[in-house]
Symmetry: D2
């Protein structure tokens, strides 16, 4: 038997994401009061949040900024050795920035950019969540109490970012981080890579790269949070409607990933997905599923079509002035 | 064709229930913070609550008392004429008490006892809920906002009371109120009526009479609140576990009624059921379903068996001193 | 107190519906193999079907015809006396036709038209379902086994028909049958009645009249079948997609009725809704909810918008030749 | 930083399981007609089945035998090199048997025993499922159609086996296969290892070892199949009840794993679990959750208690004669 190259398996999972918001109070109301995420820490212009099932102290950093968008994306390595191997690979690309002493919740990390200038970092040392007494769960294997209030998102699932060159960014994530390619949308008889979905774990995707129709830098398409049941997504739609949260699309089922989804805009302007279902990828020789113009359709298996905004809107929005966010997002008074 | 007597159709529905509690603060925390019921009014030793889907201003009156149990049970008539007809029928039995000027939420009512001395009343004038601005739903046909916090019970469904003589009480409710008999448990080859389930609407039952194994007066077995989905019952179980609420039985499926249920004790000691599913009865000539020792089993279609406490415990509990409630119910500090 | 007129309460429920299909084999495959309805009887060009929870022997008569559409609509009275009262009222309108000896499943009935010439009948004698041994449920209060195959619709819920004059038809059903008016869509500052939803039971609506934009006679908009859980609607969408059934809209939530729905076309061309949720109406003095252009929107509370076909397509379709049905409905080979 | 040893990550996932049955026709009816698994192949005394979401040609081999139980357990390696590494490790223990040419669905494999003599094998080459035309899904990333009939299990999740020495078997699986230890039940102040739950993927566990209270060899406690939704487990309970399948426990929620479960006996006598929920383990430094007598309780978070049979019954059952299976399992005539 010929010896084929073994896969890189150095990334444990998508660790945390920093979102930027020009309306920090309203955004916090959305993530805490509506989604039911716990506030683990606050420092400077940032609040650190977590889903009730996240093992880490924090998985979402919410930071005040002139424009919405993604601040940085953190990847956890499986071991210190794996961290070193990935840093070495990144440094060879010229996209490395250097080591940092870390942040609330995790230790030293190596910072870098992807080819589209999304800020990323990789680290191994992570602080596990230690709940205060009143938040201790009656389940010994649950990091904190299942929340009785709000939608009750369990954990970060994935994010989707826009970029000018999907192939370049996808290749960087495969080669330097060892992410596995799950699905792709390729148009023009294989010539135009529209989007690529990748993951380090059996979870279908932790990051997706999709082409930026406006050709801007380092934008966020959406950030996605997991709920355990399709019933939770339906309940989330009722809660969004009653609380003035803009629903852009769903509840519907994706064809890509098979997941059941609901897209909202948080008050700062970032698109946030409530997400469940989908399929886990166990095959070590999984063959990437490729969709073309015809079989991709509009990305929906059943449920309402995705509106034009789903293709055209991302954060920061090129048409909004700094500090204003998107003008047509309903303004909500946070309580 | 022989002219058979036409059915009485004078009761619109079970209108409201008053529960007594020796721990009013904890009980209010249970109904408001955990179940998500809205507080419509407070007066004297009572707080008036409602489910988000109840059209009436209030459907649950929670009153401080030395012992838990049911205070009174209110029935709404379909019309003023129907009210008069029912009062006339009740007065003939000698169980009538007299007219009262009503209470918060409804107008004049006629008070009476059932043969087991449960306090009841019947009325027509009822105040519809008029939500404050911040509780107005985005659905024009929903009386108030779907609550984002807590279990989110939609409405009162039914209650079950204990009595010494099921046949006498069941017959009174059929003859005087015109309730329809849905299901019965009859043991000893038809000789012993153990329980009877009745309703004025297609809802399977609004009141059940079950024999009191302790032979006490006017006790409550359970009060039942409706949620829309079986998923909501499962979520309720998680919320109960995380908040120190005692789960006595379920989530499981009844054979009688086919409903999906979860029994808890509210901190005052009353058994409260979270309930959904079941079947609606549309047939005007519905034949009462009768269960005997063999086919009744323990009343569970699937899911865990009902514990002994389900048969032996009711409120007030004969073994608890006044003002103490049941001693083995977890004490919870209300917030 | 002034004596106001008491409501008519003579109709027990929508009893059965006859659907016409130019593709009887494919339609039967849809209702039996896909929806999981049981075949109770076959006779002539008709097959008689039932949901597993229907108490009557049959609730859906499927009849071969040149064009799809609704054959007739059967209403069950609460008593023989009620039947006589309703017949007397109908005869006064000149829309009565006369008595018939009945059909499989029910006894003598009085036939009539509504003002838009939809064929209707009213009856009291109905045959209860008596399942063969292998279809007896392990639940004594369930008419037959819960089906393990197919979507598993429990029972008929309602139908919506088109008409040229909503007010005339709505008034006829209120006056002659005593149906209760639940919700209305009225445009042009109250001048144009677009649709009216009515019921004889607490079920939100059993029949809706909606204006026919093509001005044709006696058309069907959709026929609706109940499933117990929102999860069943989601599963139905997966089953429809995998079996070539056209999904026109949903899964989504209506604003009117609050129900969760999925619209498909059965192979004969009729629109069939898989339906759950919604709210029960208990108030005897329920105030009809009226929607105008602004607050009606497109009738969807959340989920995808209704497509143009939802407004323009009905059966029979004026643009299809007799015997052909709608040309763009996928042709499926029944197994 | 000290260089700690990196984890073994050579196993891709639990590949397939062979179950033995003395009633092959009835067992096939259970897995195919009731659970909705597809028959991929039949050969000799075996039928090869698959869940609709399994990527491999087959994941369950059902083989006629004198006694129920587990035939063998197959593990898929992540690469040919990983296969060689694991074989080398196994051979050092003396528990290796040798290479085989494989079976339907997979290529050459290395056979071995665990210390309790459960037959196992490890392999890399696996045949992906290639559905016949009529079973091709409309979803390009789903190996076959979502089944409209039966419960619709998606894939194999895990199995639990009994053994005389949990520590020895658990250590073997950690050292030789590199499985990760998720949760343990340890009694007697840490002295008695009652059970250990392990996995090669983020799925909570793929195999559990639990102490055999009868001290027999190589027995099966249960085999577990995944459904996507808690609603599917509830539907499964209804289907089991209507089709004479014995439900031993559930629907209930485990504390260990947090999963939602339903235990049945297939007609051959093996315990089969319908399973969903639970949590995924992403932390590379996950700390094993250890339960003792007090916090373990009976293993149920909410829902009915596990009956004694759950502790005492396994397959083969020492009290049943060969060829008979368990005498008290309902005999069902397969269709």
């Amino acid at each position: 038997m010929l010896t084929t190259k073994e896969p890189i398996r150095d990334i444990a999972h998508l660790g945390h994401v920093e979102l930027l918001t020009p309306r920090p109070d309203e955004s916090l109301w959305y993530f805490h009061d509506i989604l039911g995420m716990e506030i683990a820490h606050a420092e400077g212009q940032s609040v650190y949040l977590r889903g009730y099932g996240d093992y880490a102290a924090t998985t979402l950093k919410l930071t005040e900024a002139a424009q919405p968008g993604v601040g940085h994306i953190g990847w956890r390595a499986v071991s210190p050795q794996a961290l070193d191997r990935r840093v070495a690979a990144i440094e060879q690309t010229g996209l490395g920035i250097g080591w940092s002493n870390g942040d609330y919740g995790h230790g030293r990390c190596y910072q870098f950019n992807d080819p589209d200038f999304h800020s990323m970092e990789i680290y191994f040392d992570e602080q596990k969540y230690d709940p205060p007494e009143e938040l201790k769960s009656t389940l010994r294997n649950l990091p904190m109490k299942f929340p009785k209030d709000g939608i009750g998102v369990r954990r970060t699932d994935h994010l989707a970012v826009l970029c000018k060159d999907v192939a370049a960014n996808r290749g960087f994530m495969q080669d330097c981080l060892g992410l596995n390619l799950r699905e792709q949308v390729i148009y023009d008889n294989g010539a135009t890579e529209i989007g690529s979905w990748m993951s380090s774990t059996p979870v279908h995707h932790e990051i997706a790269y999709v082409v930026d129709v406006k050709g801007m830098d380092a934008r966020l398409h959406h950030f996605s949070l997991w709920v355990d049941n399709r019933a939770d997504v339906l309940r989330a739609a009722d809660i969004f409607m009653e609380n003035g949260i803009f629903i852009e699309a769903g509840p519907s089922k994706h064809n890509n990933s098979q997941a059941f989804y609901l897209y909202s805009y948080e008050p700062g302007g970032n698109r946030v997905e409530i997400y469940t279902g989908g399929f886990l990828v166990f095959a070590p020789d999984f063959e990437t599923v490729v969709w073309d113009e015809e079989n991709r359709g509009n990305g929906v298996y059943w449920g309402g079509a995705l509106p034009d905004s789903f293709l055209n809107y991302a954060t920061p929005d090129g048409e909004a002035a700094a500090g204003e966010g998107r003008k047509d997002i309903p303004v909500i008074d946070p309580r």
